[in-house]
């Protein structure tokens, strides 16, 4: 029997497993490897620090997210041997593969920054990219009576590049609601030269930060954190003091990628940008946060990539040429606080532009513009995630980005 092995059962791996299990014939067995017993709905982490209490809805037992015929191996991976085409698990077992999918994601590595972890970690210095971190931050925010709250991106790339901005917008609304906004300084220290990676969205988001009285410290590359003195220090020796730090630490790929020498300096896997095959490894495909691609590390990207990747594995198995189907497409709801949100849609070549999504001119969601509908879209997305996206049922959105009805397209193409 032929073996398709998928490493990692997050958004990307789960979609690929469910879809290929249905589409591959009986000669193939689909195995997915992930040590965690539950699947976490990561977009929910953003709301937890501001008091969201529906934690139970954020997780589901892993087995419930996988089609009956998919074999789940609940074990960590030690190494991948691409010569021998086998995966070594941490209990010493081996899995042989004919086609391998790396969907092992990214995770925060606060220990990469001097002084970030220590006795102040999850007390005065926090993250919201883990369930434990988001819970600790919820308590810290509830107890915060005023002072300087600094959100700091240590280095790029990070998962969900808009999340730090959303956090600031929600913090502004949260402190306003509690009547202490005038006692809180909100600061955003970022290694980028502005609010976001893409010019037009950066301008809009930058002016939103300004309107909300949020100070931006650009081109700040964090070198170390002095937890006792509560100061961030950049490599070029600038200082940003804080009372409460919300850190978005360095992100890296899985340990086994490093151990198998399959990754770059951040353990992200060099990947062909349009076919999603691992560079130099014809039997290995990569998607989601695990790649080194300049597309966003976001669930929408994992979803669009999953469609291209699944098609290409079927092609590879049939001995056909791969399709250069992935265009870098991402779209992200951005919570802007006070029950409103924005939606942005972009790819490798085109930055976010105004327009409508998913239907040109119709929507229902306006692009690059604040609206209540976008906020409700973000909340409603959780249902779609569990019931349509993960089971790989048809979603009413195409994986390639559309330029129809977008304004400013001519300028962007010029």
């Amino acid at each position: 029997m032929k073996q398709l092995v998928i490493l990692g059962a997050g958004t990307a791996g789960t979609i690929v497993a469910n879809r290929l299990h249905r589409e591959l014939n009986d000669d193939w067995r689909v195995t997915i490897v992930d040590p965690a017993p539950r699947h976490l709905y990561q977009p929910g982490l953003l709301f937890l620090p501001f008091g969201a209490r529906d934690e139970a809805k954020m997780e589901r037992p892993r087995q419930a997210t996988l089609d009956g015929g998919v074999r789940w191996v609940q074990e960590a991976v030690r190494t991948v041997d691409t010569e021998g085409r086998r995966v070594e698990l941490s209990d010493g077992r081996h899995l042989r593969y004919d086609q391998l999918v790396l969907a092992s994601g990214s995770r925060i590595r606060p220990e990469e920054t001097e002084g970030l972890t220590g006795s102040h970690w999850h007390r005065s210095a926090h993250d919201f990219y883990t369930l434990g971190g988001a819970r600790a931050l919820r308590q810290a925010l509830a107890e915060f009576r005023g002072g300087r709250l600094v959100v700091n991106v240590v280095e790029m790339p990070i998962k969900c590049p808009v999340a730090p901005l959303e956090f600031l917008f929600l913090a502004d609304a949260f402190f306003t609601r509690r009547g202490i906004r005038d006692r809180v300084e909100l600061v955003y220290a970022t290694p980028l030269d502005g609010a976001f990676t893409k010019p037009m969205a950066s301008k809009l988001l930058g002016s939103m930060l300004e309107e909300k009285g949020i100070e931006v410290v650009p081109e700040f590359s964090t070198g170390e954190v002095d937890g006792d003195g509560r100061v961030l220090r950049s490599w070029d020796e600038r200082e940003v003091p804080y009372d409460l730090l919300v850190s978005i630490p360095t992100h890296m790929g899985a340990d086994f990628i490093e151990a198998s020498d399959l990754g770059d300096e951040l353990a992200f896997v060099p990947t062909e940008p349009h076919t999603l095959r691992a560079k130099g490894h014809p039997d290995v495909f990569v998607l989601g946060d695990a790649t080194d691609l300049p597309s966003s590390k976001a669930g929408s990207v994992a979803h669009f990539q999953a469609e291209v990747l699944a098609d290409n594995i079927l092609r590879a198995i049939r001995g056909e040429d791969l399709e250069e189907g992935f265009d870098g497409h991402a779209n992200c709801f951005i919570e802007s606080g006070h029950g409103k949100g924005l939606l942005i849609d972009f790819n490798y070549d085109t930055e976010p532009l105004p327009g409508h999504y998913p239907l040109p001119w119709v929507g229902p969601f306006p692009l690059l513009k604040e609206s209540r509908r976008n906020h409700w879209g973000k909340l409603a997305f959780r249902w779609a995630y569990w019931n349509l996206l993960l089971p790989a049922r048809p979603m009413p959105v195409p994986h390639r980005m559309s330029m129809l009805g977008k304004r400013g397209a001519a300028q962007a193409a010029a």
């Binding site: 790029m156 490599w235 070029d236 770059d264 300096e265």
Partner: protein
Amino acid sequence: MTVRTLAGHEVEVNDEGFLTDSSEWSPDVAEALAAEEGLAPLSERHWTVLSYCREDAAEKGEAPGLRRISKNSGVGMKELYKLFPDGPGKLAAKVAGLPKPKACI
């Protein structure tokens, strides 16, 4: 794109002053570029960084990002900022005659 003369060599540069063809680079050109960035004269440690960047770019087809340089060149992050104060990733690539690193874009 403009053609300019650096240390007696004609080289083509883009809007941001990066060489468009890294084969037009030479150590003299590097010294001239470094002088414009206020980095001259280049020390032995500068050259350790520049040599690593050129070797890595020849192998990978793109200029290494800052983290990659600090991990592999033998020059740590703190020293990189001392050697190239206004953004080591960008400046090292520029003086080494390479395109702007992807991570800076």
